[in-house]
Symmetry: C2
Subunit: 113 residues, 2 copies
DNA sequence: TGTGTTATTGCATATTTGTGCAATAAAGTT
DNA sequence: AACTTTATTGCACAAATATGCAATAACACA
């Protein structure tokens, strides 16, 4: 069954393959930076804001997204929040992506078009 | 250095972490369907159009994207094109994502908000 | 209570993506 | 040449994402 006449954009919602959503969470320079920062251990919001150089509200939203899908967990201490990786398997995924994309530099003229 | 006042949207371009782009390619139900179809072997455009139930032009674009980043290769035979996986390592990435997201079903009320 | 700090949410906006239709290109067939 | 079939590209538009600012909530402390 084809879609309607004008059904632009991504079709989000409960029927989406959860793996698409998982990869969507990783499809962002900022969120990859967050995950790689947390690889070395727990970090505060302030530290992550410093790393990303973005508005605190934006960093908060990236972190909320990673928390919602269970890749990052948060610990509250007074007004402060401290974040850490909640699922180390994501590091393996990122490592594989690093390996695969290393090959792209060899033929990057067709990729960076 | 902060960004300008209104810099919405994703910042694409050559400076992007290539891994973000790699994950972006996987952040789509349709492209995951394509890759999983090709897991079983070479497929024609017609077969993939049948699987995705989308306009041929749309399927062509998804395939072009996967070809551009080197995950899929194409073989021309007359007017027809046949596609196959060009890098089996992506299957390992998808398998890991399948494992990780299996846990989501246990607590999916907070995920599917 | 008032003040200050941190985190989140509401809103507006720029950018990107996904889609379908139409037109075109490429290749084969009659 | 004319016609058919397959694949790609041009275009418009809907939907989603990323961002910053402003307002608010949550919390500590004087």
């Amino acid at each position: 069954m084809r879609r309607g006449r004008r059904m632009g954009g991504r079709m989000m919602g409960p029927m989406m393959d959860p793996r698409s959503k998982f990869f969507m969470a990783l499809a962002s320079d900022q969120r990859i930076k967050i995950l790689e920062s947390l690889k070395k251990g727990e970090k505060s919001s302030a530290e992550l804001i410093k790393v990303l150089e973005l508005d605190p509200s934006v960093v908060s939203r990236h972190l909320m997204m990673l928390r919602n899908i269970g890749l990052v967990s948060a610990r509250k201490e007074g007004v402060f929040l401290y974040f850490e990786l909640a699922d180390d398997r994501v590091l393996k995924v990122i490592d594989l992506a690093t390996e695969i994309t290393k090959d792209w530099f060899n033929r990057f003229q067709q990729f960076f078009r």
